[in-house]
Subunit: 398 residues, 2 copies
């Protein structure tokens, strides 16, 4: 079998338009030198994953003949009733507005395919979670980058662009513990963003995987999103129960429920009934269980964020502008010295055995150079000892 | 929250183009009168699902700390290495050509999005698995129906249409134990179909969920598909280990591997690592296990097919043309008496407490009336007693 350009011509415009992997899945990052400490991904700490409880719930499932067989058969495209009910209660919405997805990225892809016409423009966070830009490529590569400032997505910036004629099909933002910029969108700006969406008739794609992981500050609320006909609220169990499940959910406006179900039913029928059955058992057998898991994980991430910040301030005094995160999995420090070349720093750090995501990777607007002055340091899946050693190595690179 | 036409206008052309549920998911079928016997879906028999073995494999997984944590984390977009290896060996191809999917429908959707341009024409089985036409709507509603005859997809018919100017992006067929028509595509016609695809530059989407379930006749082979640059071979564990897993696979030509992975990575990152980890353990801990499961299931389906045919011949002598199936989950008998109105028969049968899929539901070409003369009777998930009672009720309806 050989493949030449003549075979390639059989690809759809959609398939031809998808860019090749980079960044997170770059081979040089995926296979670092042995002993390298990776501060790379938004990955839950192994210690925060409730393996023992999962094992118990799973054993109960397989020992209950009817439930076991049901979990091996087809289940509703929208998700299992009990799981939808639990999620709906937590989100404060009617269960009919929940669609269970195969994780957050699936929710983003469904949102994009449903409301972003091919070639349309989408306002996006800048810096932005690059995974969204990849998902967006199934519909478009046209973006309107909107700066993420200290209190999140700059709604006024978007309002000015819209007032002067720009039009968008959707606006994308991570409102809680932004990836990569750590900040949260303030309550007044949430309201303002929704009002803007209602005025101009676009959708807000609200990507909220870190929402549960708060260890400081005030919750800015999601009711404004969940009460709007213009918001698609995307969430997932990835950062709490683990990415491996591939189970997340959408909170949809009523009028988008049927279109999204029609689409997801065609793409893969429904989310794994087995995965849903185990998670449903975990969540509903003990109504306090999930909050306990979240508390444990959050305490762990708070400790690790603290260790990382302390080490950076000790080992690299003045080298980085650091804002203490209020939650989530990332630190987004800024290089204070303009003479430091971030690309060279990254290379030296890798040579000293520590890798992270260079800020440039998250730039939505290549003309804006501000992201490139940042490092994204993920502290979630490294122990305090590893974090201290990582900073020691980073200091050598400076 | 209210939804009016003005909100609907925010939907993409893709979302607007997806038809509403019907047939399998029609509410009148989904909620039949209590006590109704359903001969509806291609659903595995509960007795054929290896619940005990799954419970054991699952317990081993959650008791192995490293494997448990790995199954809760991200895994490769193409599927876990051990699972790809097992599948590749069974398919007789290099593991690099396997992509693990969320079941067969997901494989079909990925194939369509990758090689069927929007608005293109696709040659399809007639009668056809309607689920494929639904999946196809993500790209097109234009089909070229090709009759399914005693030895499967009528390749000569397609060849004549192509010779007189018709052009297709792909041809879709279920080669083994066709749904709904039970037949299998003969080996010479498999070869002829691939040669046609190579000559005219289209892809063959080979949908093969029933392949393992043979209880009579000769295997016509899949090597011709797996050796071609023009075939996308779609398979799944749905009919053997259960639909609830949502785990299947594609065998792809080399040049389609990267495009399909790029697409599936965007749509939902990867198939559930948890589901893959349990299935992988089942398949690899004992190399003979899967064949044993298949043998047990196949014996069960052979018995049930026999019970159904015997009962039909006893209770309804001469009313139906019946071909004994060589495998799979369906019987596709034809009404012999042209005076029998199939729609009225279906209504009377439902009133007597038995429902099945009317043949008309599977017609790819509405002008061809032949499918409407058939009933699709699924025998897989009904006991022999239920099948005999179902036929007794059907006889009352005649």
């Amino acid at each position: 079998m050989t493949a030449g350009p003549e075979e390639q011509s059989g690809l759809t415009a959609l398939a031809r338009g998808l860019s090749a992997p980079k960044g997170f899945v770059d081979a040089s990052l995926a296979a670092p030198a042995p002993g390298t400490i990776r501060l790379l991904g938004g990955i839950p700490a192994p210690a925060a994953l409730p393996v023992e409880a999962i094992g118990k719930a799973s054993a109960q499932l397989w020992q209950a003949p009817d439930a076991a067989v049901a979990s091996l058969q087809y289940s509703p495209a929208r998700g299992s009733a009990a799981l939808c009910d639990w999620i709906a209660k937590r989100e404060g919405v009617d269960p009919s507005r929940i669609v269970v997805t195969n994780g957050g990225m699936h929710g983003l892809a469904l949102a994009v395919l449903t409301v972003v016409e091919r070639g349309a423009t989408v306002a996006v966070d800048d810096p932005v979670f690059p995974g969204f830009l990849w998902a967006l490529e199934v519909s478009t590569t046209r973006t309107l980058p909107v700066p993420v400032v200290a209190d999140g997505f700059d709604v006024e910036h978007l309002a000015r662009r819209l007032a002067t004629g720009a039009r968008v099909a959707a606006a994308y933002t991570v409102p809680d513990f932004h990836n990569p910029a750590q900040v949260s969108l303030s309550a007044p700006k949430r309201q303002a963003l929704i009002e803007l969406a209602e005025r101009y008739g676009f959708y807000v794609i609200v990507d909220n995987p870190y929402r549960e992981l708060r260890f400081a500050g005030q919750d800015q609320g999601v009711a404004v999103f969940n009460q709007s006909d213009r918001a698609i609220h995307v969430n997932t169990f990835t950062k709490t129960l683990g990415p491996g499940w591939r189970v997340g959910w959408l909170v949809l406006p009523d009028h988008l429920v049927d279109p999204v179900i029609r689409l997801r039913n065609r793409l893969d029928v429904h989310t794994s009934s087995v995965a849903q059955a185990i998670i449903e058992r975990l969540l509903t057998d003990d109504a306090d269980w999930f909050d306990g898991i979240v508390r444990g994980a959050t305490a762990l991430y708070e400790e690790r964020a603290g260790v990382l910040i302390d080490a950076l301030q000790e080992q690299l005094p003045g080298a980085l502008d650091i804002v203490a995160p209020e939650g989530g999995l990332f630190l987004w420090p800024r290089l204070t010295d303009d003479a430091v070349d971030p690309a060279a720093l990254f290379q030296r750090a890798a040579a000293h055995g520590v890798i992270y995501q260079p800020g440039e990777f998250f730039a939505a607007d290549p003309r804006r150079r501000s992201s490139a002055r940042h490092l994204r340091l993920s502290y979630s899946d490294r122990t305090p000892e590893e974090l201290r050693e990582a900073v020691r190595r980073l200091a050598l690179a400076f």
